[in-house]
């Protein structure tokens, strides 16, 4: 019998330990360096994956007290780790991202210097996010947030010979620190009221109702986690940092750093304050989420840089997640975390393809790329899978989660009779189409169209960079096709865990503690609806595809059609692009030329929103302050 209780803390500590071992032993030798980093990443992955059985399948909650400081007299002073299905769900996302990013970094970062520092920071970032997700102590969570901010900032500025990197890192640091200060003040106020830092005890202590102090704490922490998950008024530095960081790090940012913010938000609203049955909090989250997804996607439509475009899409997709978890229903939460998972997968994949393009060509400027599908066919296929997933085309995973989000928002609208939620559904659907539009723009500008002269010699990226992309692509397809499996074994336990606060408190503080403090909620036993059957659909698709292919491809002789010529002479005018009879010249329709009609109709809006993203750090800080003030006022007026 293996004792699983030690696994989470070993995973976190192992990552931190290896972070320093890399610097000590691997500063000179790249093999030692890579080995240590990959072993640490894989070790964390294995340790967390080993917890699937006890937590997801058996339904246990694992608790661990640092130094065995168990609660005495109903007061938890020591730092505790508590792993229920919700934590573990996010922890799995974190370790998967870390492992794949680690494999990708080996080749991607090989041209950089001082890689010892890179791996130290990389492992520290991973360890801190894993610790943030697994911890049951709110001050420990804050410390992990701070370590996460440092590591992120340092990694953003890692290629400090580039102008954007320093600037992005500086903005990220300023806004991030303001956000963590907000969180810390919230924690301090909570401590003043409840005299505890343990999340389960806080939850029990707050059961008696909210006082003005705790409402202020709630507002401040809400804003603090908002900054960490980059919902709209707080989103500006994220776009800069994602763009400026090395791509393997951008993938970490969008795959786990902002998922950590989302996790904090769920923990805060569902478990600590148990505020999700308040319609005002629901309305606040759904409004923020809807605005986030719309502004994110419209900003993405206006971008000229591949990575910056992806960064704005990250913001937009987080809007979906926040909208869904803001509904406060079981279906809403499960669709929200499902979309968070899918976002990790497909956005990670897209960042990796962006990194591959950057590695191969040296630029991410949409106006200077084109026609790369001829030179990098494998990357192109991965990109298309990612793009179709994020746009929610069936049978990819984005479709499954988005469809759940529409279902849950509209169900919420019909339940409450509030038309605003139906509006959220419509916005979500339209944003989905706009997402597709902006990825069509990337497809046309980077992978299809005509190959510029200076990119004729581009080669496909090395195998070690393609492996993570293939894994991500496979996960994108599998989690879309076997959606029922994911929903049954991952989403349902996680959703039930978030709602089953009693179990969470009792496991940590001792049996009967929750009931003694007046929390009598029981498990809701949620199970997702059997919405559609993608496997059947896929089989049908295959039947039709095969029959069509038989007719088209094998019927060639019967119809006497001349064969498709593949090895035609490049100089042959017959196979040249049609230019109205002119000789073929390089004439590429780049990214910025697309969607003219759309932008023309909304030129006022685009001018305004692009002007708002002024790039001045003071403006961004002002947004944070104003938004925090508004959230605080809203909470004081409406939260009871």
């Amino acid at each position: 019998m293996i004792n699983f209780t030690h696994f989470p803390v070993i995973a976190v500590m192992g990552l931190f330990l290896c972070a320093f071992l890399v610097e000590i032993f691997g500063a000179k030798n790249k093999y030692i360096r890579n080995t240590i980093a990959l072993v640490a990443a894989f070790g964390a992955f294995a340790l967390i994956a080993a917890l699937i059985k006890p937590v997801f399948v058996d339904g246990n909650v694992i608790s661990y007290w640092m130094g065995n400081w168990t609660p005495v007299g109903g007061y938890a002073i020591g730092i505790g780790y508590e792993i229920d299905a919700l934590n573990l769900f996010f922890a799995l996302l974190v370790v998967t991202t870390v492992l794949l990013s680690g494999i990708y970094s080996v080749k991607y970062m090989e041209r950089d210097h001082h890689l010892g520092h890179y791996y130290t920071l990389y492992l520290m970032l991973s360890g801190s996010v894993l610790g943030l997700v697994l911890t049951g102590d709110i001050f420990n969570m804050f410390v992990m947030i701070e370590i996460m901010t440092f590591a992120s900032v340092a990694l953003t500025a890692f290629r400090n010979n580039k102008l954007g990197a320093l600037e992005g890192a500086f903005k990220y640091l300023i806004i991030g620190s303001v956000g963590s200060s907000l969180t810390l003040s919230g924690i301090a106020l909570l401590y003043a009221q409840c005299h505890t830092l343990n999340m389960s005890q806080l939850s029990a202590a707050l059961a008696t109702g909210l006082s003005p102090t705790t409402i202020l704490a709630f507002a401040l922490m809400f804003a603090g986690f908002g900054v960490k998950s980059y919902i709209v008024p707080f989103h500006a530095p994220a776009a800069d940092a994602y763009m400026a960081a090395p791509t393997s790090v951008s993938m970490l940012f969008s795959g786990m750093v902002n998922k950590a913010g989302v996790y904090g938000m769920i923990r805060l609203t569902y478990v600590i304050f148990r505020a999700m049955d308040l319609s005002s909090v629901q309305l606040l989250l759904v409004t923020l989420g809807t605005v986030t997804m719309f502004i994110g996607v419209t900003m993405a439509l206006a971008q000229h840089n591949f990575k910056r475009l992806l960064a704005f899409h990250s913001i937009s997709q987080i809007g979906y997640v926040i909208t869904a978890i803001g509904l406060g229903t079981a279906l809403g939460l499960s669709s929200g975390i499902f979309h968070a998972m899918n976002h990790t997968l497909f956005k990670g994949l897209l960042f990796l393809t962006a990194g591959a393009v950057l590695y191969a060509t040296g630029t991410c400027d949409l106006d200077r790329l084109g026609g790369l599908s001829k030179r990098m066919p494998k990357t192109t296929i991965c990109f298309l899978i990612g793009a179709f997933s994020i746009s929610g085309l069936p049978p990819f995973n984005g479709f499954a989660s988005k469809w759940m989000i529409y279902q849950s928002t509209f169900a919420k609208a019909t339940e409450t009779g509030n038309f605003g939620y139906a509006f959220a559904t419509i916005v979500a659907l339209v944003v989905s189409v706009m997402t597709l539009a902006s990825f069509i723009k990337v497809t046309q500008a980077v992978f299809f169209g005509q190959l510029p002269e200076n990119l004729k010699e581009v080669r496909e990226v090395p195998l070690l960079m393609r492996i993570p992309m293939w894994i991500m692509s496979a996960l994108c397809i599998l989690s879309g096709v076997f959606y029922n499996f994911v929903a049954k074994y991952l989403l349902t336990p996680a959703t039930n865990a978030a709602f089953n606060v009693t179990n969470y408190i009792d496991k940590m503080m001792g049996e009967g503690y929750a009931a003694a403090n007046g929390i009598t909620e029981t498990a809701i036993g949620f199970s997702p609806l059997d919405l559609w059957n993608p496997v059947l659909w896929l089989i049908l698709f295959a039947i039709v595809l095969i029959s069509v292919c038989i007719v088209i491809l094998t019927g060639e002789k019967e119809r006497g059609r001349t064969l498709v010529k593949t090895d035609a002479d490049p100089e042959d005018g017959k196979y040249a692009t049609f230019f109205g009879g002119e000789a073929s010249t390089h004439s590429h329709v780049g990214g910025s030329d697309l969607f003219w009609g759309f932008k023309h109709d909304f030129k006022g809006y685009f001018k305004f929103i692009q002007g708002m993203h002024s790039g001045v750090v003071n403006d961004y800080a002002l947004w944070v302050v104003v938004a925090t003030a508004l959230i605080t006022v809203f909470m004081f007026i409406f939260v009871r």
Binding site: L166, S185, Q610, H613, G615, V616, V617, V625
Partner: protein
């Protein structure tokens, strides 16, 4: 009076936020962050204060006599403050090093001119 502490800490936080939002000099922005940190630290330390309490230190006799009846200040916020101070120092160091690098590349400390990433 403990109320003064709260007022001053809120004042410091607001002052820091004001600095971050309005001052265009990058170093002043970093200083603003520091002021916010001090305000939050003061807030946390004040929370643990108990009027008339002693330091939370037990002598051997106290322990031998069983549970102490002594009234002491809450030690946890002080531990939190120490952590927070360390983190604040790290933030400042990190930010200042970034400012130095930015100055080398951009030849300016004006926030209005450090804005290549926008739109």
């Amino acid at each position: 009076m403990i109320t003064v502490n709260y007022i001053v800490s809120v004042f410091l936080i607001v002052l820091g936020l004001y600095t971050v939002c309005t001052k265009k000099n990058l170093i002043k922005i970093v200083l603003g962050l520091g002021i916010i940190d001090y305000g939050v630290n003061l807030l946390i330390v004040s929370i643990g204060w108990n009027d008339g309490g002693t330091a939370p230190i037990f002598t051997v006799t106290d322990l031998l006599n069983g549970v102490s009846s002594k009234f002491f200040v809450d030690p946890v916020p002080q531990a939190l403050t120490l952590t927070s101070i360390v983190i604040g120092a790290c933030v400042t160091a990190m930010a200042l090093s970034l400012v130095i690098m930015v100055y080398r590349k951009y030849k300016t400390l004006n926030a209005d001119e450090v804005r290549r990433l926008r739109g």
